[in-house]
Amino acid sequence: MQKDRPMLDAGHTEETLLEVNNIEVIYNHVILVLKGVSLTVPKGGITALLGGNGAGKTTTLKAISNLLKSERGEVTKGTITYRGERVQDLMPSDLVKKGVIQVMEGRHCFEHLTVEENLLTGAYTRGSSRAEIDADLELVYSYFPRLKERRKSLAGYTSGGEQQMCAIGRALMSRPETILLDEPSMGLAPQLVEQIFHIVKSLNEEEGYTFLLAEQNTNVALRFAHYGYILESGRVVMDGAADSLRENPDVKEFYLGMSDEGRKSFRDVRSYRRRKRWLA
């Protein structure tokens, strides 16, 4: 890894890569999942999409990467643009060629392919020579040395952490500009989560990848991200710089499990939540 390169303070670039404008997503023609979500992803930043189960994080990511169609979902309102260009009618493969790739929730490695073969499928859309692809493989291995050790084993037999690394590495092999990372912490031990986020951070700082990550683990995500959006029932309820979100009393109360007034009994917490929701 090149440590001597100046750190990009990536969160503060002006250039907007991805712009999601007031989108609505409906599954199966009837189930309204997103009710007007807007967000922007600046180049070189780590943007976090936070919220509980069913808030619409995954749906937002899939709407961007165009993987919704195969799940009978569709964007019925609003626009999604990448570098100012409307991308919501593209095939997922076209979007990958434009530099946007998604790492899906739950890893989704190809179980019966070896780790290395998994990585190579990431380079599917590229017309690159074998030498270039080999060089990129080495780059991925330099960030994930563990994958190099396990490159000949079937991905299905590797551990959850290794699979997450494999899925991220596979996405890197497409030479993306923006990586949509869905719930990287899912089912992993806290130490591993920490490790994965550190790697994401260094990929962002050293290689300049832009990340949009969906995460339930608000605490970890806000420590590593530059900017955050909080989703609730298909709407963005709050957004701001990661630091300010971490200090925000509501975020502390709802998502970080802390409170200015110290610990409360569960009954108080519940009523507080209910009151807040009604006011919102």
Binding site: S65, L67, S70, E71, M91, P92, S93, L95, V96, K97, I101, Q102, V103, M104, H108, C109, F110, E111, H112, L113, E117, N118, L120, T121, G122, Y124, T125, L154, G156, Y157, R170, A171, S174
Partner: protein, 328 residues
């Protein structure tokens, strides 16, 4: 050497040859199963359809002749030309690619991410449709297929074995050709699946449609490619079986023989299809030869299925099938 043993050896050899033919059909199943997780019930009918088309093109038959004559009151049957074998085979391959594309466009494109059982049902529908379509297109009479493959007893082997054992083995030339063709087909398919970019993508699609989409693999392209390959394999199988026993409806039933072959070899293994085919071919013939007379014969009809059932109990993924990965 005792006659019984020599005769047994001949039976084994013939069993191996028959097994190759089973394996050819099984190969088509494996390809589609590998790439899309679909058990393609229509594979046997595809072999029939390919053979029908090949004969039709070679003979210069007018497609849909009966339909045209019935509607327009004309009497057309043949164009009056004969297409050379090689050209006819190429044209048939094109028809099979077109079929693959149509099938994907009309059926499987709409079934991405559905349960395997739904995809399976779709292929059953496809099988019946294709069966009727083949009939309407080319007529339902039994046709003779002759693409110039050598047939009949191989005199060289006959002489050779007669010289050694004093007993000439009867080996059909066609079976020898089929064996060589099958071997070539398997080697090239394995190399393709294991080492080429598209082959890797094919296996990726089989594992996880969504993930394959997410890395930018086009499902449509891969599926059309795989169905085309399966169509090609079906054509090869159709040519071999059609030459052997004429192109007729019963050709589509060989698919049922391919089923135990697959259970033995494993649904996901290309070499497994061959080994499974050979085991079934030899086992069937040997069983008929040794046990058959005691139970009144006709064991060939059920032996393969019993063997497959035993395998299902002890090794459900087959001899060479992909391990069923379960992490706990």
């Amino acid at each position: 050497m005792p006659d019984q043993l020599l005769f047994g050896m001949e039976v084994v050899l013939n069993g191996l040859m028959a097994g190759v033919l089973y394996a050819l059909v099984a190969l088509g199943f494996v390809l589609i199963y590998k790439a899309s997780g679909i058990f393609n019930y229509a594979q046997g009918v595809m072999a029939l359809f390919a053979a029908l088309t090949l004969v039709g093109v070679m003979e210069g038959q007018v497609p849909f002749a009966h339909l045209i004559n019935a509607i327009l009151g004309t009497q057309v049957h043949h164009f009056g030309w004969h297409v050379p074998t090689l050209l006819a085979i190429i044209l048939t391959i094109l028809v099979m690619v077109l079929l693959a594309w149509t099938v994907n466009q009309l059926i499987f494109r709409h079934l991405v991410n559905q349960e395997p059982i739904i995809l399976f049902m779709a292929t059953i529908g496809l099988a019946y449709f294709l069966e009727g379509f083949g009939d309407i297109m080319w007529g339902s009479d039994i046709k003779k297929l002759d693409v110039g493959l050598p047939q009949g007893i191989n005199p060289a082997i006959d002489d050779l074995t007669f010289g050694i054992f004093g007993y000439g083995f009867f080996i059909d030339n066609l079976d020898i050709v089929a064996t060589v063709v099958a071997a070539l087909l398997v080697v090239s398919l394995v190399l393709f699946a294991q080492y080429s970019k598209q082959g890797r993508a094919m296996r990726a699609v089989a594992d996880d449609h969504q993930a394959a989409l997410s890395v930018g693999i086009s499902l449509k392209f891969i599926w059309v490619m795989v169905w085309s390959l399966a169509g090609f394999v079906a054509l090869v199988a159709g040519i071999m079986w059609g030459t052997k026993s004429g192109v007729q409806f019963s050709l589509s039933l060989i698919a049922l023989k391919a089923l135990p072959v697959l259970m033995l070899g494993g649904f996901t293994s290309i070499p497994g299809a061959i080994v499974g085919g050979l085991i079934i071919g030899v086992g069937e013939k040997l069983f008929e030869f040794s046990v058959g007379p005691m139970v009144g014969g006709a064991t060939e009809n059920w032996f393969a299925y019993v063997l497959a059932l035993i395998f299902l109990v002890f090794r459900p993924q087959g001899l060479f099938g992909e391990k069923i990965i379960e992490r706990v």
